[in-house]
Symmetry: C2
Subunit: 328 residues, 2 copies
Amino acid sequence: MPNPVRALTALALAAVLPLAASADPLPSWNEGEAKSRILAFVAAVTDPASEQYLPPEARIATFDNDGALWAEQPLYFQLVFALDRVRAQAGAHPEWKDDPTFAAVLGDDPKALESLHLEDVIKLVAASHAGMTDAEFAASAEAWLGDAKHPRFGVPYASLVYQPTLELLSFLRDSGFQTWICSGGGIDFVRAFAEETYGIPPEQVIGSGIAKEFRFESGAASFARLPKLLEPVNDKEGKPVWIRRQIGRRPALAFGNSDGDLAMLRYATSGTGTSLGILLHHDDAEREWAYDRESHVGRLSEGLDVAKDSGWLLVSMKDDFARVFPAH
Amino acid sequence: MPNPVRALTALALAAVLPLAASADPLPSWNEGEAKSRILAFVAAVTDPASEQYLPPEARIATFDNDGALWAEQPLYFQLVFALDRVRAQAGAHPEWKDDPTFAAVLGDDPKALESLHLEDVIKLVAASHAGMTDAEFAASAEAWLGDAKHPRFGVPYASLVYQPTLELLSFLRDSGFQTWICSGGGIDFVRAFAEETYGIPPEQVIGSGIAKEFRFESGAASFARLPKLLEPVNDKEGKPVWIRRQIGRRPALAFGNSDGDLAMLRYATSGTGTSLGILLHHDDAEREWAYDRESHVGRLSEGLDVAKDSGWLLVSMKDDFARVFPAH
């Protein structure tokens, strides 16, 4: 018969002791260098006896979103959302026909769409995401995320998250890390699904943004979304700037997949404390996509050249991911 | 003789059970309406059986800094710091003599200084806080905070924090709140002391700021501080805008002391959930200062007119604070 006092003790201790390390925290990662380095990094920074130990407040991890936490092909998902909105609003904007960026969207020519660059994306986002309140924008993003289906996989876009990076987020949080998103995408678009999809609360989302104006009318507060981009855009050298603004500390781990993430990885891995830079290489055409140096979306070229000399971990989706997407 | 198993059980339970509510969490507040309303608010939002219950993620509190968490007379402390820097750098800027704002500083005419407005403050801050890296700025702010003494009290400026609001911060955190600073002052200046002084980490500081550029040279990362203000300034209607950017949720409690905080209080208290807006009235010339409608620093005029109808708590420093500053 169990001793009730001992049972209570065990129960109480279980609540305060760290989780036993018996279960594999990264079951969707194949055994290999990538998984080993991640496990070794987390073991070292959480071991008070290690020279690489980091106190909890220094355990900051920043993750890119597009191509790092969820897929980004054949077009950035937020761009698909923006295109849907532009098409819906085109009737009210006859002048859009004379602008090559908008014409590419409204003409529905796949080649023209493929030629869009980040600057075009930003223009479309600013035009299609402004002129409403934050609450209206959030509602439209949530509705789109619930309805729209990915053309290749036929599932909602938020289903195309990577099971291995979901596990990495959980593992890091269980190891005392704050997990932040640092996305080139719009902060409010990412917030529309980040908490439910990644377990990341709004205050740990960093992204590009547009100017807003606070309005208080008849006792109701709202934010008007203005068609003006906040500078810098949260891409390339803009990422460390917004990390500095919103976090105020250097990350110890940075996870990206494109040249737009290099400045973030350089920032994270150039300090004196233990750090880890990770780049995910999309080399799996069968289960996802294979693209790098020539891709308009998520181009990874300089990153492939400098990863090794920078000491960064280059993760191969093909070799290191035992599974790509969660079971649907 | 103590039973070791029972002792261990007690110890383990003490670690997981909430602190017993026997101790007064606000010992430096006099008994009265202010203290009662704060205690009742926290009791209601943390009681799952209450209709006013707020889940932990909704327990966001935002505090102004100048005049709310620390004193702001006879000049905003960051302005004193900026003036010291402007004087030190004046030799390299002969053109400053022809600018009325800078001339007011360099001439050391107390009347001219008193006439400075927020726009002047911002100009001085932008000019005196730029042209260096973030690391250099942080070092100079920390050095000044360690050395400079307040003219009336003869203590370091960071000693002039309010004991009652320190207790309120701790009480809110013990009750599951995130406590954020939302200051009209500069984000990096406030971060230089917020963690040590208030227990508030850098990622929970919102403030005004200047533009920055990320630099990566010879393997070293740095942020160059540019002489350009970020818009909006984190004052008045700018406060909700930056709260929305950095937190992404509406605060349930907002604490301020001047008309610059009204938009923040309106935002916090106009939602559907339980909320509390608090304004601290500086009416204690003996222990601190008495100022409101006519003050150049921390003016509180419209706030006095609308507090009651808005349902906000107006705290009297004279009547509600049993002690103003911590024992030094």
